[in-house]
């Protein structure tokens, strides 16, 4: 049965190919440093579940050290602007097909095998169907792109390295932040902050309770980088005992608007790396906070909206 381990091995193929490409690029400066960085990443993805935790941790620290030294990979050749314009005229709208195959196969696979079973056969772990479909979608998109554009041998690895090098170390940042989130939870960071806030203000009206819960969800999400990590802490500390039990707020409204206030925080924090930092690298932006700056006005207005909706609509007898 296809589970997370097999999916991890599939995910390891990309950094492994990039590491090999760097290792064989012997004339380029820092080729071993880059090969080691992507090689270590590939090992944690593919072999991580069978290695001792300490070895995986050592590999992660080695990646941190190499990235801090500076990867600064040598550029690889790709097509020039005139060639691309000529290619675009030749293939036209057909170029969109492989790009759209990825989401279409992912959706199709997720919808066709909801329980991971094909004709009574347990093919995919039901919890990992979307990820398995994503792997299949990426493979099919690659085959279609190769068949359409018929590039010289080795071009796929070369182009993969160009994009991976272009994005660089932010590729591993989401996993580092997930690890940090786990350590914060273990150390009880959330509970310490929640306890501090509870001691500061008297929370006895819908307005104050909504403000504390909504702002708290946004602030905790900014610190932890993930509304899913903030939600249990805030909801168990204030949401259920005060907004729901003491003030009789509607549970569905309190929880939904609390989570959505957390999402406003996600739009404001570099800790949510895959939403706010990875696109900075993928789109070659100079300012590390460029995406957050654009999102901030919408995020703040929506936070006000959520807190107002909570105060005005969620409590019997209205706000007092």
């Amino acid at each position: 049965m296809i589970g997370l381990d097999a999916i991890g091995i599939a995910a390891a193929m990309l950094p492994a190919a990039v590491a090999l490409h760097h290792a064989r690029d012997t004339g380029a400066p820092r080729h071993w440093r880059n090969a080691a960085f992507w090689g270590a990443f590939a090992v944690t993805l593919g072999a991580g579940p069978w290695l001792p935790d300490l070895v995986n941790g050592g590999l992660v620290l080695a990646m941190v050290a190499l990235a801090t030294l500076g990867l600064r990979p040598a550029p690889v050749a790709t097509s020039d602007e005139a060639t691309r314009a000529a290619f675009a005229r030749r293939w036209g709208a057909r170029l969109f097909l492989p790009a759209l195959a990825l989401p279409i196969v992912t959706l199709g696979g997720t919808l066709a095998l909801p329980a991971g079973r094909l004709g009574g056969l347990a093919l995919v772990d039901p919890k990992q169907v979307t990820l398995a479909a994503l792997v299949a979608g990426a493979a099919i998109a690659l085959v279609l792109a190769l068949r359409l554009t018929r590039p010289p041998r080795g071009t796929a690895a070369c182009e993969a390295r160009r994009l991976v090098d272009g994005i660089g170390w932010p590729i591993v940042l989401p996993q580092m932040l997930a690890a940090l989130g786990g350590i914060f939870a273990l150390a009880g960071v959330g509970k310490v902050v929640a306890g501090g806030v509870l001691g500061l203000v008297a929370i006895d009206t819908p307005l104050v309770a909504s403000l504390v819960y909504g702002l708290g969800m946004a602030l905790f999400t900014i610190v932890l980088g993930n509304a899913f990590a903030a939600f249990p802490i805030l909801t168990l500390a204030f949401g259920v005992p005060i907004l729901i039990q003491q003030l009789h707020g509607d549970p569905a409204a309190v929880a939904a608007l609390g989570m959505l206030s957390g999402f406003c925080g996600t739009l404001l924090t570099p800790m949510a790396a895959n939403f706010n930092i990875v696109p900075v690298a993928a789109l070659e932006l100079r300012d590390r906070f460029a995406v957050i700056r654009v999102q901030a006005p919408t995020a703040l207005l929506l936070l006000v909206f959520n807190i107002a909706a909570l105060t005005l609509l969620a409590f019997p007898g209205g706000p007092k």
């Binding site: 935790d53 300490l54 492989p98 990825l102 182009e159 939904a256």
Partner: protein, 219 residues
Amino acid sequence: MLVLSGVVIIVLGFALRVHPLLVVTAAAFASAAAAGHGPLAVIALIGKAFVDARFLAVAWLALPAIGLLERAGLREQARAVVQRLRRATAGRVLLGYFLLRQAAAALGLTALGGHVPMVRPIVAPMVEGAAERDADAPLDDDTRQRLRAHAAAVDNIALFFGEDVFIAVGSILLIRAILQQEGVTVAPLEVALWAIPTALAALLIHGARLLRLDRTLSR
């Protein structure tokens, strides 16, 4: 209180522009040490958590196909398509993508979109192409950067405030599970209904900003 040292390191580190991977590692060591874990235990904890989160790396598998298509002129093609549509201004292209992404997410189709498979090769070139045609000149670098940041922001905002309208999304399952722990039962449909006002507010607020963007570009 010492467990908060990790949070302080994160805030200072990001503010002082220290390498983010180094900041995150230092914060992990500080908070774990304050909670009584030795250095070797912290390294093992980081290793285990990093491997447990390896599902996050699957999305990068799109890169080889996207790279091949970019080499073959996908971005130029996206730009050319939009330049033929006279009424497609930069703000309207962004708003169109917002509507598509939010509607798909509300139906549970969150896979339709993303910064690497969709924004970089297709949406951003379309937005830049529309702005270039309307300005009748190559874009200056600051404008190009601003438009790209807008394209990334649309992908995020439309996803976040669309997906909660779908009853089987992860956040609604989490809400149910946490409230259930405290003996409070909610129906997924009720939670999803409470996400609709914010979804509409997000569309109105961000849509208005996108249409204003066209006016600032034409000046």
